[in-house]
């Protein structure tokens, strides 16, 4: 299972308390993880990536294994530790706004 950690506001929307565990089919990428996340939690559609273009929202960031993966291709494989369920994929609200 892939572990995903949501920012506080999205945990509230999705009615989850801690980590989310997702069964991801095929290669583990940003896209496949977000597809699985949105299938399990449809209320999160549009909050992390655009409804139509599927691009990451500007003030959302993706971290894993102490790296910022926000600018990686959505189809690039995520780190092995994430795919193996050892490390979480973190969805972060960017620090902004002053």
């Amino acid at each position: 299972m892939i572990k995903v950690i949501l920012p506080a506001h999205l945990k509230t929307l999705a009615h989850v308390g801690g980590e989310v565990a997702l069964d991801v089919q095929g290669q583990v990428t940003q896209r496949s993880v977000l597809d699985a996340l949105e299938n399990s939690y449809p209320m999160l559609r549009g909050t992390i990536r655009d409804h139509v273009t599927q691009k990451r929202r500007p003030m959302v960031r993706f971290f894993a294994c102490k790296e910022d993966l926000s600018h990686e291709s959505p189809d690039a494989p995520l780190p092995h530790e994430v795919a193996a369920g050892k490390e979480p994929f973190l969805i972060i609200g960017a620090i902004a706004g002053g």
């Binding site: 920012p7 506001h9 999205l10 929307l13 999705a14 009615h15 949105e38 299938n39 399990s40 939690y41 449809p42 209320m43 559609r45 549009g46 909050t47 992390i48 409804h51 139509v52 929202r57 003030m59 959302v60 609200g93 960017a94 902004a96 706004g97």
Partner: protein, 394 residues
């Protein structure tokens, strides 16, 4: 005895204020959706327990929330968790947060750009829902005014939203330009006597009317004069801040423009100024008394660059003559050192006798009057900046 529910949207959450018909002792519930901007919340006129909320965030975008029990519980009216997000034939099911401009070949394809601040053309980009206007007859139908300016409608209780693209497509859309606060469709008025008639207002495009349920639209800005645009009498481009009507006489419209308070007696076909003796005619909200169609209210502020009351005195102005002759209402309102603003959707009236009036400020106060504005009391002092206020009689 009747009960009052006041719905308050703020920069950091929603609040519900309730009182009995005397409107003296208030209970404050909230924050709901804490930390999110609540641009608007409004109840259905035919089911007071059906509430709709526009919940937005610069980080996570647009959320629509709905309550079926007067705000005790809330849900996003799209596909519930765990259910398939597509129908058996592969069609997407309801997604309450999805506002996608019409790009169909027949109706939406040409609607690609509008004018940007620098005069170039810029793609329409959805940002947020400014205003939700529930149908006068069906609790599942709601209109949504959005930024960048467009009108959407749901007929399934908020599960899915479709654009009424005839508005952007009527002809002047590519000339619309954002105001300083963005290009928002912020006002939607439904005519109770003519079910097909809808008025909307956009900053900074102006007022538009449809007589056929939102299919076809026309600009109705004749008589507006705006010195800050190249052609002061232009068909569009006026920064209309708010329009209002009385349900018993929906052909008469009142407007608070960027500058000028205006009136139309013919469904917006022409407008004339009724600023009269106001000390300044710049402001955002305008409201009509619940029982007296010629009694209107505005909250003037100093000017377009100093969005606070003149001389630090918070004064609501009332006209009992449909404009021109105004009186300051000050009893109970701060008359020194007050530098808050009242935003365009932050006033409301209730239909009790005497009429109640409410407004919220950018300083987080919500004031109420149970005597048509003669005197005011603060219901709550220290909320986040207030974006919207609506009142319901239960």
């Amino acid at each position: 005895m009747s009960k009052i529910r006041v719905l308050v949207g703020t920069k950091k959450g929603a609040f519900i204020l309730t009182a009995d018909g005397k409107r003296t002792k208030w209970k404050v519930d909230g924050p709901f959706f804490a930390g999110w901007e609540i641009y608007h919340m409004k109840g259905s006129p035919v089911d007071s327990n059906r509430l709709y909320v526009s919940q937005t965030s610069g980080w996570f975008g647009q959320i629509i929330q709905r309550s079926d029990d007067g705000g005790k519980t809330w849900h996003q009216p799209g596909t519930p968790p765990g259910e398939p997000t597509t129908t058996p034939d592969g069609m997407p099911k309801g997604e309450s947060n999805k506002f996608v401009y019409d790009t169909s070949d027949k109706t939406g394809k040409p609607l690609t750009t509008h004018q940007w601040y620098d005069g170039t053309q810029h793609p329409w980009e959805f940002k947020r829902v400014w205003h939700l206007e529930p149908s006068l007859t069906d609790p599942d139908s709601v209109y949504a005014g959005v930024e960048d300016a467009a009108l959407f409608r749901t007929t399934d209780g908020g599960k899915s939203w479709q654009e009424l693209s005839g508005l952007r497509g009527h002809g002047t859309g590519p000339q619309w330009t954002p105001g300083a606060g963005g290009m928002g469709l912020h006002t939607i008025l439904l005519d109770p006597k003519n079910p097909g008639r809808i008025y909307i207002a956009i900053s900074a495009a102006g007022v538009f009317r449809s007589d056929d349920h939102g299919k076809n639209w026309k600009p109705i800005n004749r008589g507006l004069k705006s010195q800050y645009i190249p052609d002061p009498d232009a068909e569009i481009g006026h920064c209309v801040h708010r329009i209002a009507l009385h349900p018993s006489r929906p052909d008469v419209l009142f407007m608070q423009k960027h500058w000028d308070v205006m009136r139309s007696d013919n469904r917006g076909e022409s407008w004339h100024e009724v600023s009269g003796n106001l000390p300044t005619d710049f402001g955002f909200p305008i409201e009509v008394h619940a029982h007296q169609p010629e009694t209107i209210y505005v909250v003037p502020i100093k000017n377009d660059s100093e969005h606070f009351p003149l001389d630090g005195k918070l004064r609501v102005y009332r006209s009992r003559t449909g404009g021109n002759e105004w009186e300051a209402l000050t009893k109970g309102l701060p008359q020194k050192d007050c530098y808050v603003n009242v935003l365009r959707d932050a006033t409301a009236v209730d239909s009790l006798e005497p009429c109640g009036i409410y407004f919220g400020t950018t300083g987080g106060q919500v004031y109420g009057s149970a005597d048509s504005g003669d005197s005011w009391t603060p219901i709550v002092h220290d909320l986040p900046a207030v974006l919207s206020v609506e009142a319901q009689v239960l």
